[in-house]
Symmetry: D2
Subunit: 341 residues, 4 copies
């Protein structure tokens, strides 16, 4: 059974395991104060044109989101997110568990634009309602779309004018920044948001996300929050070594490019067979719409999520590729789909 | 510089890294539903005489504690802990951040006995105060002491009679169970507590703690809580592979025995030099009391914590050993101490 | 300026103030253990055919909602509410501040029906999402509609089959139960819900809401929750005396009938002038749709909320009546509207 | 049965009820935006020499404390309180329920001094522990002692130097400020603390506490917090009318002086009979130490709390007086005690 269910089905890229092996018996400080973590942060800052940012490494994405939002927001302040936002749908109320409401905004493509956020502001007028304070976006989004630079610039400008924080969930930021349609850089992300995170788990690491905080007022005492939420690993070196390996050269981007290339091949191959898609998604998630009978046939050999009903007899499925997806697996899938149609 | 600061200064035991390498490219289910995690849980249950327990793997100890206590307690219920308890002192208010008070009980040796807990019950009489509901203990404790079987049995019986949950933090459970003075087993831990966790991070794993829930009413929906607190790793295999390697044979216990042996050698060597100790600690933490001038001399070559002031010119220091502590390092430390005295 | 802004613009019904005066110097137990509170609870139970319920008096509605839901739900459980629900919109995230998500369900008339709740259940399938556990309804709703007995019975049956708690916010329950279209009784409310509250503040009291808990498992330790949330008044007699006065005879219902009668007169008078309504609302809130120019004219003499835009040049306004609304005020409003049209 | 259990056994001072009656049918804005509340705040500010403070009226003390501390503290910040502090002991974990730890400091007389707070600061050194941020004191304290001006000035200076907020719980501030040993004024309280509250419930009101916020950074958006915690009464006039009546002339202080006079008479009368006291308490709470047999005799005619064991056969009891305590009741108690001894 070949899985296209997600981008975390395998372990880590071999270079990462080698880096762990090579440093294994060196004694280091705990809790993220080891030299690998320090170096990883330096590498990351260099990629952001030396921006004055703080960088903290986390074990996972939900924990990054909940720690950051709980630290950034006062009790009456709320986040604003697209209806598809991961924090809104797939984190078991992690943000609400820290006391904060998330205001859902309908969005067809998973992205937010100023007019949509303005509508949320207009609906929250006084102290009987929460105060929208932070705009949460994902790049790439949960449905594979990505932000163009002009879109992020417009949203960033809007947020600054309105006194809103802009926070980007980058669980799949590698895939977004390496998309053929992308014109954003890591430096742009740091410049245009107040904080964002760079996902390692879904791009070759065993685990790990790097939170980048740019706005000065959000930096204070942040390690207290990490510890309080249980995210300060005793062997923080585990995260530092991985991010150092990913960013000391271009490994992070190479892995994302491979994932995107495999997704692109799936997308063009499926299109060539005459099938449509739920949405145009230029990153490592592809959402073809297939007849249900075909889906059942494919499920015998491939693992993937059936995403949503698309018609009386058809559904959209989600195919996810990763740094580890083999060309042969893609080719076989397309062969099997062709045979089934 | 040789560090005796803690038991998480190195990476993982080499067998663990080999196990990660060997399985790295296999595709597995995410979120702890992989076959390694399933097998690890089976191995652990077998060590507990097949007890009817649920086992969940976590990235770290603070997260295990906060997830468990938040899940187990209703909003008005409190935990009871020794004044030295890790949740009370060194977790940045993680438990309070989930809404629960911790009632501190003074304890000279870091352990709790029924009479002490009864005093806390007596002081909490009505709805104007929190309701003590869960007794938190550590084994070994934060100051290296361990529970004898009769002590744990007495506390367990007391808790059941009073309707209290008994929860054991086992960050250093390996060292406790492999102490020369220990007469408890993993099966006893499962039998006598309502839940406890087995620490991997401080006993040879890269990261990971195994929470064991025995009481039926505490098991329901537990994975929701793990996810909500951000502790459900996408690549849960990372934890499963490690615990499987630690428990498929006696590796976990061998590593703890080594740590204890090194601590024992330090303890007897220091005693032979005529120095006293803050407390009798038969596990992998040793607390010798030394003249401050000697401490300053040792700090030039060794890293360790100065724990507490012991007199006008002397302090207790903490020396921690681990699976990775080399005999040569212990011998050198004793040599240097002898030379300094 | 005559206000139709709400049903809490005046103080209390004179009989309530007299009751406070008459008992003022009697010494009583604090914290709701006074004899007035005990008697009030007995009177209320008698109105519910002696149902086996617990009754707790609260200062206000938001506090009742947040205390009840925080007590009833475990950390991963969520409430389900109509998009217009008070807890969702007008309580500044009070429920989320206790850690719980509220799942919003679109509803044209402010009411929930089984199929709508089922859709929410269908969308929440596993531990990556919150678990819907409590259905929150309002009667009357925030837009003046009320539940018919068969509707509440269907919803109640559905909730029991699905293991959901049914909770009714009765801030305006008096008006609902005294509506000309109502066929529910207090006893029905107790029989069909797991908990509900009876609003005093909006029906003649200075302040006060009576929470009724029917389901046994929700009763335990409830006074701890009241105290923890700051809702246990030292002089609890203040609430007891008022509810005793409202329910020792039919005062509560007389006041609601008066409010409804005044609303009915407004509604029929406005309809007779040819104006339409946002929604059919058979309780003490009326939502006529008027030309904006007329609204501006009326605002010179009357206070009311402009509720929502209804067209290019017209809006719905909200007129609320109460036990204190005078017939002359209603007549004057209708005269002035007629003159303005 | 005459009760000396507390200062909230009766209703309100008759002038307060008259004020409610006189204004009862006037229509007013809801939620504390009525003219009475505005006037009450003006009267209070005038008593503080026109200090630039914000004033918010709350239904009760626990709610005031929990709303203020939840608003003032970031998630990792803790309050520091004397071991007897009301928030630490008698509020069912209300502060912890908002996510914050309270650090307990042993104190014989219920008061805090800079050296004690410094010790708490010294014990909290890094991000593995909570960060002490707010010092909570009570005046009068829970055991009847009061702060002298020089004590409060020293604590205030210390807090400002260390970046700590100073917050005073004034549930019994009236009694403190009217004590024969007091040299503080309301203006001093405003000048020396960052926020404090003036208790109405225990000094003649039906209910109500006035929170005074002086420090600018703590004022922002405060009404959101009041609403979120359920403390924003729809008929906020109820609080405004009462505080206006208490402070439009000297009523508040007259009532406190009466309570203190009655306590003083009890204290000197009991001392004259040869009995000692748990502590010197120059306010409206008196703690005589009596033989247990005498206590049992007194309990037949008087209600009071047995506070703590004082010896093998004796205990301290607590006698509380109020604005409503009659001279005859005090005289009768002293007679009966004399007869019993």
């Amino acid at each position: 059974m070949q899985s296209f269910k997600n981008d975390y089905s395998e372990g880590a890229h071999p270079r990462i395991l080698q880096a762990l092996l090579a440093s294994n018996l060196e004694q280091e400080e705990g809790y993220g104060e080891d030299r690998f973590t320090v170096q990883a942060a330096e590498c990351l800052k260099a990629r952001m044109d030396g921006a004055d940012v703080d960088i903290h490494l986390f074990p996972g994405g939900t924990q990054t989101n909940l720690t950051a939002l709980a630290a950034f927001l006062r009790p009456h302040e709320a986040a604003v997110a697209a209806g598809t936002g991961h924090i809104l749908v797939h984190e078991t109320g992690a943000i609400e568990a820290t006391g904060h409401k998330i205001i859902a905004i309908p969005s067809d493509d998973g992205k937010l634009r100023p007019a949509q956020v303005q509508a949320a502001l207009d609906a929250h007028t006084d102290e009987h309602m929460v105060k929208p304070r932070l705009v949460y976006i994902s790049n790439s989004t949960e449905i594979g779309t990505i932000y163009r630079k002009e879109e992020l610039e417009a949203l960033s400008r809007f947020c600054r004018e309105r006194g809103l924080y802009l926070y980007a969930d980058g669980a799949r930021l590698g895939s977004a920044l390496c998309s053929g349609e992308n014109d954003l850089t890591l430096a742009d992300m740091a410049r245009l948001t107040d904080a964002f995170y760079i996902g390692g788990t879904k791009n070759g690491a065993l685990l790990g996300e790097a939170l980048v905080i740019r706005r000065a007022e959000l930096k204070a005492d942040f390690r207290f929050h990490i510890k309080q939420k249980g995210a300060l690993l005793a062997k923080g070196r585990l995260l530092g070594i991985q991010f150092l390996e990913l960013f000391r050269d271009d490994l992070f981007f190479e892995l994302a490019r491979h994932a995107n290339a495999m997704a692109g091949r799936l997308q063009s191959g499926i299109a060539a067979l005459g099938c449509g898609f739920l949405i145009h998604s230029p990153s490592n998630q592809v959402f073809p719409v297939l007849p249900d009978a075909i889906i059942r046939r494919l499920e015998l050999k491939y693992a993937f999520h059936v995403w949503s009903r698309a018609g009386a007899d058809s559904s959209a499925i989600r195919l996810v590729t990763s740094w580890a997806t083999r060309e042969e697996a893609v080719a076989a899938f397309l062969e099997d789909l062709k045979a089934a149609l």
